[in-house]
């Protein structure tokens, strides 16, 4: 690949000193997100923007020269949405980190580089809460959360990112910055453009500011932890719980995940259990005790071998932390292909059992964790990259799990996004007519195809 030095000089002149990185030692870390896409390209440059005006300058320059731009938040994406492309620019918003919280209107205006955990902390200083909580909340950014419409553990009761975003500032392909929505709790003036950009994975524009609504701090939660000797029993309990109330969390771990977490954290989980459920209620007053009771009874009735409840928030949080640690814990066993398939809740048992069959058929370990309450699972396919055939089988299993989810009326991605790793399966899920519709919108907003080319479409 040849690089025209004059084009790069032009970019440098538009931006402050140090904003443009070209040294391969520095740019290497920006080539991949956590999906570790082996097909990652070599970018022409990495730009670390510190203002909306910089993002506009980059996009005007990129439009003029037809140079692809891959927007990047914290780089914690799991579908290759921020994989660099050859000869393109990786545009990082990691240095755009301002936040303003208005406690009277319970609204925060946040730049995209601020981490999810930092938004939560800034809200908490005012007794407020920003609910969406990806397991990566300590290292993922709010811009990436908005670009992927990120979910998390509390979403089963509190909703996902799009449910909290009131407004965006977005820089379009041609460098125009637009303000969509704003600090108004109800606003139907014009098309729902704010919502269109949420979850668009950088293919329609670059999010440079996010206006989110906050809610009063979450009340203390009580927790039920139940072990099961069969996965089917656990899924029976899940359906019984979700049919009767709205848990504040309802998480699932299978035997492989339990073992991996126990290896790493040594917290006394039952290694013999085939499934573990962690459920929470944060309802106020007597309702909390009632909900905990209903959930514990549902587990017992479904055949749980052990049911434990606690009103101690710290003790309950330890189990949630164990669940959040499952991905790094399983990662100690080998390289991972991370799945994110979801199904309508009644199909959850079929999905989990089908994943077991796929694991057996292709002879690869698949550890399953799940935001069970909303049918969103994370099968973690483990392989040794030194064993070529195992890696091949892992990739076949990765696709087979998506095929299974689609056959059950489900989705290939509940919260991680399509990125580059899943785009081959998107048409199978949504159909050709929806793909055509998607392409029409993409073409209308990014006619030259310079925004995150190769992602989603």
């Amino acid at each position: 690949m040849t690089t025209n030095p004059a084009i790069l000089d032009e970019l440098r002149e538009l931006l402050p000193d140090g904003a443009v990185l070209v040294d391969p030692d520095l740019t290497e870390g920006y080539r991949r997100d956590w999906a570790k896409d082996p097909a990652a390209g070599v970018p022409l440059a990495v730009v670390r923007a510190t203002s909306t005006a910089h993002v506009q300058s980059v996009m005007k320059w990129a439009s003029a020269h037809g140079i692809p731009v891959v927007p990047r938040g914290a780089g914690s994406g799991l579908s290759g949405g921020a994989t660099a492309v050859d000869g393109g620019v990786v545009l990082s918003t990691e240095l755009m980190r301002d936040i303003t919280v208005d406690p009277v209107t319970r609204i925060a205006v946040v730049q995209p580089g601020l981490l999810n955990v930092e938004v939560k902390k800034a809200a908490a200083e005012h007794g407020l809460w920003y609910p969406p909580d990806p397991s990566s909340f300590e290292m993922c950014s709010i811009g990436g959360n908005a670009a992927t419409n990120a979910g998390g553990l509390c979403c089963v009761k509190y909703g996902v990112t799009t449910d909290y975003v009131l407004g965006l500032e977005v820089v379009l392909a041609d460098g125009t910055a637009v303000r969509l929505g704003g600090p108004r709790l109800k606003d139907v003036a014009g098309l729902s453009l704010t919502k269109l950009f949420i979850g668009s994975e950088g293919t329609l524009g670059i999010i440079t500011e996010v206006t989110v609504r906050l809610i009063p701090a979450q009340p203390p939660a009580s927790t039920v932890v139940a072990s099961f000797t069969s996965v089917r029993d656990a899924t029976t309990a899940i359906l019984a719980i979700t049919a009767s109330l709205r848990p504040a969390m309802l998480e699932f771990m299978d035997r492989a995940s339990i073992g991996a977490v126990e290896d790493a954290m040594n917290m006394g989980l039952d290694r013999d259990a085939h499934a573990l459920l962690i459920a929470r209620s944060d309802s106020p007053g007597a309702d909390r005790a009632r909900e905990i009771d209903v959930m514990a009874q549902a587990c017992t009735a479904a055949g749980a071998s052990d049911v434990f409840t606690t009103d101690d928030p710290e003790e309950g949080e330890a189990f949630a932390a164990a669940r959040r640690f499952a991905i790094p814990a399983v990662e100690r066993l080998g390289s991972l292909l991370l799945e994110d398939v979801g199904v309508p809740l009644p199909a959850l048992p079929d999905l989990v059992e089908g994943i077991e069959r796929i694991s057996d058929k292709y002879d690869v370990l698949v550890a399953v964790i799940a935001h069970a309450g909303d049918g969103n699972t994370h099968p973690l396919i483990v392989f040794d990259p030194a064993e070529t055939d195992m890696e091949r089988r892992a990739h076949i299993a990765f696709g087979a799990i998506m095929d299974l989810a689609i056959s059950l009326g489900g989705t290939i991605t509940g919260e991680h996004g399509v990125g580059r790793l899943k785009k081959a399966w998107l048409p199978d899920q949504v159909g050709e007519d929806v793909m055509k519709l998607t392409e029409r919108i993409k073409t209308a907003l990014d006619p030259d195809g310079i925004l995150n080319p190769g992602a989603v479409l």
Copy 2:
């Protein structure tokens, strides 16, 4: 206007007997929605579709002949979104009324013609609740609710229509039917197209099926009713309440609305009050009493002349019903121009006082009711259509109120939609760049401009 009989014959052949209305006695009632747009056109025909296939046939026919199509739900819109256009077809979905409720997944699949109240009733049979509650919930349809992203009284705590829609079936301009989203609680596969069509007011496609999530039945609510001798005191109480908790309802009525409702319902409201607040808590257990106490104290501290609380749901509902009846009650005083402006909450006092000044300046009665908790107001401009100059002044006041809302960082429409009556003000609110972006999407999806031409854009 000339009508080509062959074109109409072609349409009739595509549809069941009786689906195509051309008799002016029958079509007259389909020319206007509740906005009573005086500029309503004379349609070529009205089609009452009974299936998605019919809607597809109409759109294929309309595309082939370049005939405009105005989609219509129950015709209860307040911004002229369903005003007929000359030579076009009004496509009514009022006869598409199926619903299937799945209590296990708490999801309902609904055809667009079913009324909001009927969705609520079908959900209630399973102990479930569909929250969005426009004041017109007994006569507005779920399809229209989705097309306008309708709000209501409980939205201050429970969110608006888009927060409950998981999936749509939409017929595009060329007659293609697409399924977007579906019965999955989390799904980020591809662009957020479901959300784009919600609130698009029939300009991008025709909604033929809506998949909504339901939540457990609302707990019984307690109610605070407070009278104030000044509007400013009432808005002080509103800000104090919303800064400290999330009310399940927080409604405002000014003196003119109180008087009109009292004239109609004779329920003992204080006619001397300058403002009335109706606030609700539906939190469980002791939290409800605490919230009612906080809200009552906020009213007292702000100078309320009278504060009344009740735990009796029926007694509380009587006040909510009074508030809902305000529009028909004020309508007894004359013809109405209905406003729907919203502002960020701290600007609410300035908005309400500014509306008073506009009322004085143009010498027209403006009664104000508001979903105060989310800053969404409904100024009702009353005029006598027999008095030409008063009607002229009413229209000037209508625009002046939107200008005022925009100057306060607000919106021209919180929940009714832009339709035809407000489109002249949309560019002032969102700016030229957002209008261009909107036009690009419109053109991509409806290149011939046959879908609801003249609405929004």
